[in-house]
């Protein structure tokens, strides 16, 4: 089978996406006195990078704010290191947090801020689910509570950080000057409610419950996990009502 087309596409890709010399364009594409082959190929190289940088800038505005003028060169470095592997442009930023985490020149909190921003992108179009609402809770008998199945909605994500990057996010959002965050552990819940993406820091006992809530657990198990609290059932009810009001719990099948 003739593989000339594959060779042409390999050379085209190498010039446009890998930065190979545009002199390779001669003999591949037609040039003319008006525009040389290299000039014509340069259009594709510029459009390839510009489109990806634009999409990434749209998805990571807070990171762009803190990095400033160095953000675009950073994105070009990222695109070169992690060329897109999904047919959906929406996914182009999925590996940016990991890229930053492995980049010695990037402070750890940059990667964490990127992870927060990416989680917000990701939950925006995650699967829908009916949520556990107050009327359902009101209709329950006391005997039903221990076995009540609690699980976070699909459009949610729980992130553990070594820095309070949610504070950085809020400062930028509020137009307040951003200081480099000090090291302080923070667990952040990101979720979608109706058309809105929200996030907030979890309290310490909420954070300890998060892994179980992600896979599904019972109200009884929640109370057991809160054993060190002065009044575990009361605290469990308080959290349940808060989570229900925030629409972060799936409607159990049994209710």
């Amino acid at each position: 089978m003739d593989r000339e087309l594959e060779r042409i596409q390999e050379r085209f890709y190498a010039m446009v996406a890998r930065g190979d010399s545009l002199a390779e364009a001669r003999g591949l594409v037609v040039g003319d006195p008006r525009l040389r082959a290299e000039t014509r190929m340069a259009v594709y190289r510029r459009m390839y990078v510009d489109r990806l940088v634009e999409a990434l800038t749209d998805d990571f505005p807070k990171l762009a704010h803190v990095i400033g003028a160095a953000f675009e060169p950073l994105l070009r470095e990222y695109v070169r290191a992690c060329p897109p592997n999904s047919p959906t442009l929406r996914d182009v930023g999925a590996r940016l947090p990991g890229f930053l985490a492995g980049r010695p020149a990037s402070p750890a909190w940059h990667a964490e801020l990127a992870a927060l921003e990416w989680a917000r992108v990701d939950v925006f179009d995650a699967a829908d689910a009916a949520t556990l609402a107050a009327p359902s809770l009101d209709a329950m008998t006391p005997e039903q509570f221990p076995g009540l199945w609690l699980r976070l909605v699909p459009a949610s994500s729980v992130l553990s950080f070594g820095h309070p990057v949610d504070d950085v996010w809020s400062a930028i959002e509020d137009g307040v000057e951003v200081a480099k965050p000090s090291r302080r552990s923070r667990t952040v819940l990101v979720w979608r409610r109706a058309e809105q993406v929200l996030h907030r820091a979890l309290e310490e006992d909420e954070a300890s419950l998060a892994p179980a809530l992600q896979v599904g657990t019972t109200f009884e198990a929640i109370c057991e996990e809160l054993a060190s609290h002065a009044d575990p059932p009361a605290r469990a009810i308080e959290l349940l009502l808060r989570w229900s009001a925030s629409e972060i719990l799936r409607q159990p099948a049994a209710l």
């Binding site: 259009v43 459009m47 390839y48």
Partner: protein, 278 residues
């Protein structure tokens, strides 16, 4: 072969809510397929609401019909699922390649027009159509290069793909204008080889210029030469469905509707002239 939907525009995020709430008087909507290959959330609700109000065409940018990479089966599965759910009036993508070595370009790269690429595209279109259980349509790309190895002219290649694969054509008159300027051919000459029964719809869009080339930026009103080309195309192909594409510097909805009305006026006049034999 293809439905006559009248005039419509490409629905983009700035207008999602307003179009669903106000239901402007247009014939149809085109949506970018990849924006809705998601699990849920606001995008899927927009798609369902748009579909409940208008005929919808799904227009993709990542089918990569001309790539030597294998067809992306996960993408095809997702597309097939979306098509089965939405039942769009038409499904289209581009005569181009958008991936190589497992990496996505997120750009529409041109093909050399050779016997090898013709056979490859025909075979892949057949497989896609089998998977989707319907004809697809391929759009002529705007291009900035032509290949030394090309044996066929683009309209002859596109016509031959349509004939052999039994698929349709989206005739993008804005892209045609851009390509004609960039490669020094007469845009009207492109129309003759295109089989009229294969044209499912026209695209009309604005463009920009940079460094001696026209760029299909889709961020401006449709220029007069493209409207003239549209008039010519209507005379040749008849009252084919027509879509205004505006992807950047998007105007308020009223401006987009005005552009649709402008195209409709051109079409009404052209078709009346044709009917009267003038």
């Amino acid at each position: 072969m293809f439905p006559r939907l009248g005039h419509g525009f490409g629905l983009r995020p700035p207008h999602y809510r307003q179009v669903i709430d106000e239901q402007p008087p247009i014939g149809w909507l085109e949506l970018v397929t990849e924006n809705f290959l998601v699990a849920g959330g606001p995008p899927r609700r927009v798609l369902e609401a748009a579909r409940a109000r208008y005929p919808v065409v799904l227009h993709g940018v990542s089918l990569s019909i001309g790539s030597t990479d294998p067809l992306d089966e996960r993408y095809l599965d997702a597309l097939a699922g979306l098509v089965a759910e939405i039942e769009p009036a038409m499904v289209s993508d581009h005569l181009c390649w958008t991936s190589f070595g497992g990496h996505a370009a997120h750009d529409l790269w041109p093909l050399p027009y050779t016997d090898e690429s013709l056979a490859l595209v025909v075979e892949r279109v057949a497989r896609v159509q089998d998977r989707l259980r319907r004809r697809i349509l391929l759009e002529n790309p705007a291009s900035y290069v032509t290949f030394v190895s090309s044996r066929l002219e683009e309209p002859d290649f596109l016509a031959e793909v349509a004939r052999r694969a039994d698929c349709g054509i989206v005739l993008d008159l804005g892209n045609l204008h851009v390509s004609a300027a960039n490669h020094g051919f007469e845009a009207r000459d492109y129309l003759a080889p295109i089989p009229p029964e294969r044209v499912g719809y026209f695209h009309l869009a604005g463009h920009d210029a940079d460094g001696g080339l026209l760029l299909d930026t889709h961020d401006a009103p449709v220029c007069q030469p493209v409207l003239d080309l549209y008039r010519e195309a209507l005379r040749r192909f008849g009252p084919v469905s027509t879509l205004i594409e505006w992807d950047g510097e998007i105007p308020p909805l009223e401006g987009l509707i005005a552009e649709v009305d402008r195209a409709r006026a051109v079409a009404d006049a052209a078709l009346e002239e044709t009917a009267s034999g003038s």
